[in-house]
Structure formats: C-alpha cells, structure tokens
Subunit: 343 residues, 2 copies
DNA sequence: CTGTTAGCGCCTTCAG
DNA sequence: CTGAAGGCGCTAACAG
C-alpha cells in the first residue's frame, strides 16, 4: 500500500512475506538471515526501488554519515567554500548536506544556531558553519566554523588573514600614488569587516595619510546594499580617486556605480576588492582584489571536522590562512594633480 | 537530562513543568493554552535554546517547508544553479537543503534516485534534480529536473538550447577561418553532450567541412578527465587550429594543455567552451564560451516546483532557455596557411 | 534463523 | 486547559 508514493520498509516486508526486522537485517548486512530469504528480500528491494529513509534511520540510530554545511544563503563566497568541501569529502565515505536556514538578507542573526539545532543530534554527524554570527558550544555534534563573524572563539575555526590582506590592498593603492582613498566596509558587527577596516586604517596611518571620515561607508557585503553608498562616495564633490571595498560583491557594485556616473575604471577611479570570488575576473575591467583561499578553507575545515568526528583532538584549533593580492585591471596610478594636491 | 547535548521537547516540558503536548501547542501556536503557561514555556524554550528537530517533525507531519536540491557534487555548474535557486526561494517561506549523494566522479549512475528516495516523503516537500542521469516518476513528491542527462521525459524539465549553442560556437570558429577544428565531448551517455556534438557536426556539415574523426575526443566534462584527451589532441602531428570543448571545465583543461605544450592561445590555438561558469572569465586569456543562463535555470525551476507543490499544474512542462556566445579572448583568425591548405 | 517488542523525538487525537 | 496514548520508518535487543 504505497499511498504516499514512497515505498517503506513495510512495503518491502509485506511483499517479501517477512517481517520488517528481517528486511532491516538484510539492508544492514547483519548476520542471521537465511541465504534464500536474503536473496528474496534483495530482489524485492530492487524491484520496488526501495531506499531507506535517511530521516527514520537517523532518528533511530543517531548516525547518518552525513556532514552538514550550514550557510545563510548560497552566494559566491559560500559556494566557493562548498566546492572545496565537496572535493575534500570525496573518498571519506561521508555525504554532504548543505542547509540554508537564514533569510536571504543575512540579517537573520542566529540562523546558524537554529539550523544546527534542527539538524544536529539526528540528521548530521558533524557540521561546518560558514560565517556564523554567533558561536556557542551548545550542541552535541562536532562543529568547525569558517570565518565566524565574531572571530575565533571556543570552537575550532578556519579563517584567513583579513588584517594583513587589507593592509596589502591599501598599500597597493598608496603605492600607486592615491591619497584620497575610500573604504566601503561590510557590516560593523562582523569581525572580518572590522579587521579589513582596521587594516585599511593601519596602512593609511603608516603612510601618514589621514582618513577622511566622509570616505568611509558601510556597504553590507552585498551588491544591492552597496549600490547606494558606492554612488554616494562617487558623487562627492571631492570624490576619492580609489576605493577599497571590503569584498568583491561591493567592489563590483562600485564598478557599476562608476560606469553609471560616467567614470572610467581605472582611469578615473581605481578599485580593489576582497575575496577573489570567480565573478571578480568577469568584470570589465577584471577586478584587482585580495584573494582568500576559499576552497582550501573548505577542505581544511572538513579535515578538522573528520578528525573531530573520529574522536581525535585537532592539533590547531584556529587555523589562519594567508591572503594575497591579485592584480588585474582596476587599478592605475593616481592622476598627478590629485597626488600633488595633497602633498 | 541532556545526555546527548541536544535539547528536546521533553527537556522543555520537564523544565517548564508541563507536558510535551502543551509545549507542542505553544510552538505551533495552537489555541488552548493559558496565557501564563504560554509565557513560561516560551521563556524556557528561549533559555534552553530549543529548536524542534526537523527530522522528528517531518517524520510525523510529512511536511517540512524544505525544498531539496539534489546534485552529484558541488562544482561550478551546480553551484551556479544553487545561486539562482537561493535567490528564487527567498521570500517563498521555503528553506533549502542541497544534498550531494553521488560519489565524486559523477560516474555513480542512479544517485538521484537513491538520494530522492532517502529524502523524499520525509525530509523534503519537493525536489530539484540537477543533471540527473535517469528520470523516473516513481516518488511521491513533486520534482523538477534541470538539464537531465537523458533529455526531457515525463517530469517537468528546464534546460538550455544545447544544439543551437553548439552550432553558434562552431560557426564562430568557422567564420574565423578555422577548418581543422577539434571537439572535446562530455560523455556519450549524456543528452547535453550528445546535442553539443550534434551541433558541432551540423555546423561543420553546413559549411562543407569534413570532420576528422581523430579530432573528436571524449573528455568526461571534468577538468581531470579532460587533461589527457586535450593533450592527445594538441600533440597530433596535424593538430587542430581550434578546439570546441563541450563545457568550460574541459576548455580550461585545454588551455592548460596548450600552455603545457608551449602553444599560445589564441595565436596558435583558438578555444571555445560551453556554460560560461564564473571561472571562464578568469583564465588567461579569458575564455570565449557559449553562455547558458544557469542562475535563471535554477530560479525558473523553483518557480515551477513551487507551483507543483501548491497543487497547481505547471503551464510548460519543458522549458528551454536560449544560449548566447560570449566573445572573450581565446579565439583568433586561423593562420592563413592552415585555411589555405584545406581550400 | 525469524518475528515480536520497544522506543528514537515529535505531533495529534482523545479523554480527563 | 492539560496529560496520556498512538504512530511516523527504522533499528536493536530479546524471544520463539
């Protein structure tokens, strides 16, 4: 009786004329089943196309062989992590379940706690949290965080060197002669965003260039939310000759805003991003940016998680990967007038 | 007693001094709970950080508000689909669960049937199958397929115009004067691959250019599997002056093989890909390719699925989206000698 | 060797 | 308004 369409272990048992327990044994390869019975059940399973329900099985046995990747939404950054995770997990015998719980905006604080609660203890044996907003060690399953919003805390963490990366980006602009440099930040409540701004300010201070508060804006890390502040920055009477955006999506928004206002990149405006998502190379001109090894961050996190799930302690609780500047086409020397004026 | 670490509805009930039924009612906003009780339970839920288990809930109620995206692995194509899906699902009230069941190689035929069986009826209310190898309408939940390997069948399908796209790509190379054009195919068992090869042959035939069988290879749609055939193609004594690869990953492998052999692209070799994944713009030089609207394919599929889940029939069962040529830097006119020789 | 009996965590009657 | 009982699909003892 497959009313719902889905064939259950009961259907198999009934069709094969045995009990569900026997079917379960056959499925799990337990000993204690007659050869003939085994074969008959196998046949029924094949003919009915039965596959055990992950849900029911996990509810009972508390083990699923599934690793959860919890993200707020699927955007360029999290999907790059996913690619790395996917490669790392191949061959380990684990399967992957990427869950997007938070609302689209990413404004839904605490999504990772809810998602983890909904899935852990039953559906997944361990989890990788991608840019979680809050990290508490409250749950039973092993967890590794990638680029947590609050910085490394109690749980194992993988991130990249945001501070050094931001310094590099800013120094690149300074070396090109820029002095009026705008900064388009992420969100003040996020650690990565804070560090990138700190790196910006550090490099400026080191060079002895004052930061004009009017040139520092908040872009929210998303293309749509960065559109307005990017326009504002470029419509300033005394507009910047260069902008360092705290991620690529906002850098892309900046390039679009420039085009919108008739400014040529990089002639009238230099732009540097952060992340080096694949989309960064597709802009016109291609974006100069600070690359984080996103796929590697994903695979490293899986490595740590697998150790944790095996009950082994991980050697390094906080792993910080290096960033590097990728020079493409959005940076040019500052117009001589601009540089001279400040001097 | 939170032995496992996970807090269940029982913990909440015990702490609040009520029965689980009462807690359940509070959670689901049912009527029939005293104001004071309601508040107390809410407080306990908040303080304990309780969140109902997706697993247990779905097992019972057979409704989860979760849409499943089933993929073989997370690579550039499927993650682009994911991005589109993620945007389309925002605001619908559904949550997303992307499940990667098949082994890494993509050689695991039937992964989508198994994955679907494991998740449907319990964990997810509907599913989008990304490049499924076999499509049967065997299960209870609504399903939409994106780019099925066997071509449109019984279930609603979204794909792009592979044939026309391949013709366009080939004609582009022919227009540049190329005559010795190599074709790096996907896998013979896949419909998309078959259609792209057909498009290639059609365009060649139309131009009256014979196809040299030695120049047609199978690359398996993956970078690693395409490496060997790409090398073979370029090491031929009478090597092609251009290669049309059936997807971007293989085109990238071809560019790498060319660099490996000291061939300059596009001077010594023109290359065209298919898909236009973000990575295509990041090659040196950037890849000329046939773009499929991958994100749109994802969002369109979600649109159809949501209709289906609401019990409404979808107007168009098979939706085919257009492709277009994106000219970047990997194509140049054929060397005059080469063209003349054939004429 | 095989069937029966308990639950896993949750939700839904149905009495109290 | 609240508590006890049953069942979702499956597995793990324990009987037969």
């Amino acid at each position: 009786m497959s009313r719902t369409g889905r064939v259950t272990i009961n259907d198999v048992a009934r069709t094969a004329g045995v009990s569900v327990a026997t079917v379960s044994k056959v499925i799990n390869g337990r000993y204690g089943v007659a050869q003939a019975t085994n074969e008959r059940v196998q046949e029924v399973i094949a003919s009915l196309g039965y596959e055990s329900s992950l849900v029911a099985r996990s509810l009972r046995s508390h083990r699923t062989n599934v690793i959860g990747i919890l993200v707020a939404e699927f955007e360029p950054f999290s999907t790059e992590i996913l690619k790395g995770v996917s490669q790392a997990v191949a061959g380990t015998g684990y399967e992957l379940l990427a869950y997007s719980g938070g609302g689209a905006g990413g404004t839904d604080v605490g999504w990772e706690r809810r998602s983890l609660s909904r899935l852990s203890g039953t559906l997944i044996d361990g989890a990788v949290l991608v840019t979680p907003t809050v990290v508490e060690v409250h749950d039973g399953v092993p967890v590794v965080a990638i680029d947590p919003h609050a910085g490394p805390s109690g749980i194992p963490t993988v991130d990249s060197d945001n501070l050094a990366g931001a310094v590099t980006a800013t120094e690149h602009l300074l070396a090109l002669g820029h002095r009026r440099i705008g900064f388009l930040g992420g969100r003040p409540d996020l650690e990565s965003s804070r560090l990138r701004e700190e790196g910006f300010r550090t490099a400026m201070a080191r060079a002895g260039v004052p930061v004009d508060p009017a040139l520092v804006r908040v872009g929210g890390y998303r293309r749509e939310t960065a559109d307005r502040p990017a326009h504002e920055l470029l419509e300033l009477a005394d507009r910047p000759t260069a902008v360092f955006a705290a991620n690529d999506l906002m850098a892309i928004a900046t390039i679009e805003a420039a085009a919108d206002l008739g400014l040529a990149v990089p002639r009238d405006l230099s732009v540097v991003g952060f992340d080096d998502v694949p989309e960064a190379a597709a802009t016109t001109p291609p974006l100069t940016t600070v690359a984080q090894p996103m796929q590697q961050m994903g695979s490293v996190a899986i490595g740590m998680l697998v150790e944790l799930m095996a009950g082994r302690p991980v050697p390094a609780a906080h792993l910080r990967l290096p960033t590097r500047l990728v020079e493409r086409g959005t940076c040019a020397p500052a117009p001589v007038g601009a540089t001279a004026a400040v001097r």
